[in-house]
Symmetry: C2
Subunit: 448 residues, 2 copies
C-alpha cells in the first residue's frame, strides 16, 4: 500500500481544500436547503475521480449513485454514506459559521464535517488514490449516497427495494458515527428502534383541581401508572415476552465485549454519575450493545412552569423508545406492549407509532470483518477497537435484511465530533486515515 | 326589609355606576399595577358610606380595614373581601377592554366584576342602604379587604395573627367564588391544599438514547414509578395513613349533600365525559367536597414536541396537588408522602413544597348558617343551595383556626363569571341581590 499512502500524503492539502468546498455547500434535508445543489456537487465530485455517477430520483431527495467497474474483479463493495446534514441551529453557539469551514487545532470545523460529508468524501479520495496509482481498483465498487439520513432515511427503503439488482454486491462498507475515544473502531450493525407515543385523554379541557379534583378523570395519574407498569421495580422491562427473542452473546461476541476498552473515569465524567451497570466495564457494553432497552424520552402533562398551578390536565402523554437487539422485531414488540397495556387495564390508552427500525447485525467473526480490521490497522498503524454493533440505530437492516449482505461500519470522525450540535468538527488525521482505510479495505476485501 | 330593599331599588343605577368606577381602576397585584390608587379608592368608597376606614400596611399591599360600630348591638360581623384582580391577559380575547366596564345582556363586563370587586362593593352598598334607611346597623360591622388574594394572600396570615383583637367578631361573612348554576349558594369553608413538586435527576445532560440506553440512569422511568406508586390500581391514594383523619360526613352533611341539585347533562357537557363517580349526583358532591384528592397537575421530562426525539432526559419532575379535608393536616400529609416514597425505594427523589393551606370548615348546621340562609332567601325570593364547603381552597382557616370564628360564604357572582379569564362579568341581578343579601344577613345575624 505504500505507493497509495504516498499519493494520499502528497495530495493531502488538496483533499482538505476539496472537502472544504463540499462543506461550504449547505444541504439541510430537514429544511430542504441546498439539497439540489449539493446532490449535483456530489455527483460532480464522484465523476471527477472516475466514478460513473448519476443522481437517482426518489420521492424525496435524490440518491447519488455511482459505479467503478473493475473487469475481472471477484468482489463488489457497496459503499454507503449521506450528503445531507442536520440544521445548524443554534447559530450563535458556533465559533465560526457552520457553512464556512475553518481549520484549527488539527480539525476542520463545519456542519457535516463529521456527519457525514468528511467520511463520505474520504471514500472518493481513496478511489482517486488507487486509480491514479494503480490504474484500476482491486474490486468493483458501487456508491449509494443518500440525501435523507438526517430525516430518518424516509425514502431509502423504497430505493433499496426497487434497486436490488443495481445494488448487488458482496458486502456493504460504510463510515458513519464517531470512532471510539481511544481511536479507530469497527462495528457490525446496530440496535433497532421502536418509538411509541402514549396518550391518555380526560376531560375536554384543563380543569381547576379544587373544583373538579376527585370527580374528573385524572389522565396524568393513569399515564404514570401505565408507563410505570412497563418496568419491574428492578428496572427490567415487565412487558410479557419482551426478552423472548433476545439471544445470549455468542462466544465471539463475548470475546469482543471483553476486549473493548472501558475507561470508568471518562464514563463518569461524561454522565456526571456512575452508570447503572456500576463501576466495571464488561456489563456496560453488554447492556448497551447486546441487550434491549426501553426508555421514556418524554413526559408531558398539564402545568410545567415554575411554581404551582392547580389544574387537572386534559391530556397526558409519554414518548417511549425501545432499542431492540437481534432477533427482536419492532412489530412484535409493539404488539406485546399494546397487549401488556390492555391486560393492565389501560386498553383505552392511545398508542401511536412514531418510528420503527429493526435491529441488524453481521457476525463479528465474518471473514470480511477480519479483512476490514486488517485494513484499518494498516491505515492507522494500530488495530481498531471492535464492537459488535452500535447502541444507536442506523438503517443497516436495508443492507443485511433487504439486500442480504454483510455490512461493516468504520467511522472516520472523532468520538467528540459534536454531530447534530454546534461546532461540529472532524480531525484531519481521521479524514486522512479514513482515505487510507477505504483504500486498504478495497485490497483486503479483494483478497478475502 | 322592605324599606331597605326599596332604597336599593331606587339607587340601583347609581350603585352600578359607582361599581363601574371601581372596576375602571386597575389593581393587578401580580404585576403591582394600580394597587396604591385602588387601595385609596376603596378606602374612600368605604368612608363615603359611613365606614371608619383606613389602610393598614402589610409587608405587601395594604389591607383596607373599616368599622361601623353600632352601640348596644350584641353581634359583630367581620366582612372579608379583596380589591386586587388577576392580570387581564390575553388582552386580545376581551370583547371590550378589561378596565373599561361595559354593560350588556344584564351583565357588567370588566376584570374584577365578579372576582371580587363586584362582590366586595355590594357589602358597602348594603351598609349605605341600611344606614340611610334606619340610621344605624343592627350589628357592629368590621371590614377586612385585602389586596393580595390573587397572589396567594401572602401577607394575610401575618396580618390576621397580628390583629386578633382588631378582628374580634362573632362570625366572618364573605362573598367570593361563583354561585351554583341554579342560583344563590351558601358554603361553609373549603378543602385545604398541599402542593408538592417531585424531581428525579439522572445524568448531567440529556443523553442519546441509543448511545446510552441501558447504562445511564432513567429519571423519567423512576419518576413514573414513584408517581404511580401513590395510587392503588383503583385510584385510591395508596399513601399509608393518607385517609386516617378523614371523618365520615355528619348527618347534617349527608342531608345537605342529598339536597344539592345535580344536573348530569350539564356536568357531562362541562367535562366532555362522565365524571368518575358515574351518572348519579350524590357520590359526586361527597367525593368533590368531603373527600381528599391527590392530583398530578403537571409532568415534565425530556422531549415534548411533535414526532420523535431519542433522548434519555436529564431530569423528570411532577407537580402534585392534594386537596385535603377535615382534619387532614398539610404538614402531616407531606410527611406521609415522603415516608411512602422512602419506603418504596424512592428516597433519593427531591420533594419540594410549593404551597400548603389547611382545610377549614364551619358546621353546616351552625345557627349563623341558618340565619344567613334565611337572609339569602329573602334577598332572592328563593332558598339558596347549601353546600358544606368549596372543593377549591380559600384562606378560610385564618378565620376559623387563627381567629376561632365561624365563617360563612355567600357568592354574588354567577357560576359563569369567567374569573381569571377574558370577558369576566357579573350579573346586575347578582350584584343587586348581593346588596340585598348582605343587608338582610346583618339583621338575621343580629337576631341569632
Amino acid at each position: 500500500m505504500n505507493d497509495i499512502f504516498q499519493y494520499i500524503d502528497a495530495h493531502r492539502d488538496r483533499f482538505i481544500g476539496e472537502l472544504g468546498a463540499l462543506l461550504r455547500q449547505p444541504s439541510i434535508s430537514a429544511q430542504g436547503i441546498g439539497m439540489t445543489e449539493c446532490a449535483e456537487l456530489v455527483r460532480r465530485l464522484m465523476s471527477e475521480v472516475g466514478i460513473q455517477a448519476r443522481l437517482v430520483p426518489t420521492a424525496g431527495f435524490p440518491v447519488a449513485y455511482g459505479e467503478v467497474p473493475s473487469p475481472g474483479a471477484r468482489r463488489t463493495v457497496l459503499i454507503y454514506g449521506h450528503y445531507d446534514v442536520q440544521p445548524p441551529d443554534p447559530l450563535e453557539a458556533w465559533e465560526t459559521p457552520p457553512f464556512e469551514p475553518s481549520i484549527r487545532n488539527g480539525r476542520i470545523y463545519a456542519r457535516g464535517a463529521g456527519d457525514n460529508k468528511g467520511q463520505m468524501f474520504a471514500h472518493l479520495k481513496a478511489v482517486e488514490a488507487v486509480l491514479r496509482t494503480r490504474g484500476k481498483l482491486p474490486v468493483n465498487v458501487k456508491f449509494c449516497f443518500e440525501g435523507e439520513e438526517e430525516i430518518a432515511s424516509r425514502n431509502l427503503p423504497a430505493f433499496v427495494s426497487a434497486h436490488r439488482d443495481l445494488l448487488r454486491a458482496d458486502l456493504v462498507y460504510a463510515s458513519d458515527g464517531p470512532m471510539h475515544p481511544s481511536g479507530p473502531l469497527v462495528y457490525f450493525g446496530c440496535r433497532g428502534l421502536l418509538y411509541l407515543e402514549l396518550a391518555v385523554h380526560g376531560a375536554k379541557r384543563d380543569l381547576h383541581s379544587g373544583l373538579y379534583g376527585g370527580v374528573a378523570p385524572a389522565p396524568a395519574v393513569r399515564l404514570a401508572q401505565a408507563v410505570a407498569s412497563l418496568w419491574t421495580s428492578l428496572g427490567k422491562v415487565a412487558v410479557d415476552g419482551f426478552y423472548d427473542r433476545v439471544k445470549k452473546p455468542s462466544p465471539a461476541d463475548r470475546r469482543i465485549l471483553r476486549a473493548i476498552p472501558f475507561d470508568e473515569r471518562s464514563v463518569r465524567d461524561d454522565l456526571g454519575c456512575l452508570p447503572v451497570t456500576g463501576a466495571g466495564g464488561r456489563g456496560y457494553y453488554r447492556r448497551l450493545l447486546l441487550e434491549p432497552n426501553l426508555n421514556v424520552a418524554g413526559l408531558t402533562a398539564g402545568y410545567q412552569g415554575p411554581g404551582a398551578k392547580t389544574i387537572i390536565p386534559r391530556v397526558a402523554s409519554a414518548k417511549l423508545d425501545a432499542r431492540l437487539v437481534m432477533d427482536q422485531d419492532p412489530d412484535e414488540i409493539e404488539e406485546k406492549i399494546r397487549a401488556h397495556l390492555k391486560r393492565g387495564g389501560f386498553g383505552d390508552i392511545e398508542v401511536k407509532r412514531l418510528g420503527a427500525v429493526p435491529p441488524s447485525r453481521t457476525p463479528v467473526d465474518h471473514p470480511f470483518g477480519k479483512a476490514v480490521a486488517r485494513a484499518v490497522a494498516q491505515a492507522w498503524g494500530r488495530p481498531p477497537v471492535i464492537v459488535p454493533n452500535l447502541g444507536g440505530t442506523i438503517p443497516d437492516y436495508l443492507f443485511t435484511q433487504v439486500l442480504g449482505l454483510p455490512s461493516i461500519w468504520v467511522p472516520y470522525a472523532p468520538h467528540d465530533e459534536a454531530n447534530h450540535a454546534p461546532n461540529e468538527s472532524t480531525t484531519l488525521e481521521g479524514f486522512v486515515n479514513g482515505i487510507r482505510s477505504t483504500a486498504a479495505a478495497l485490497f483486503e476485501i479483494a483478497a478475502t
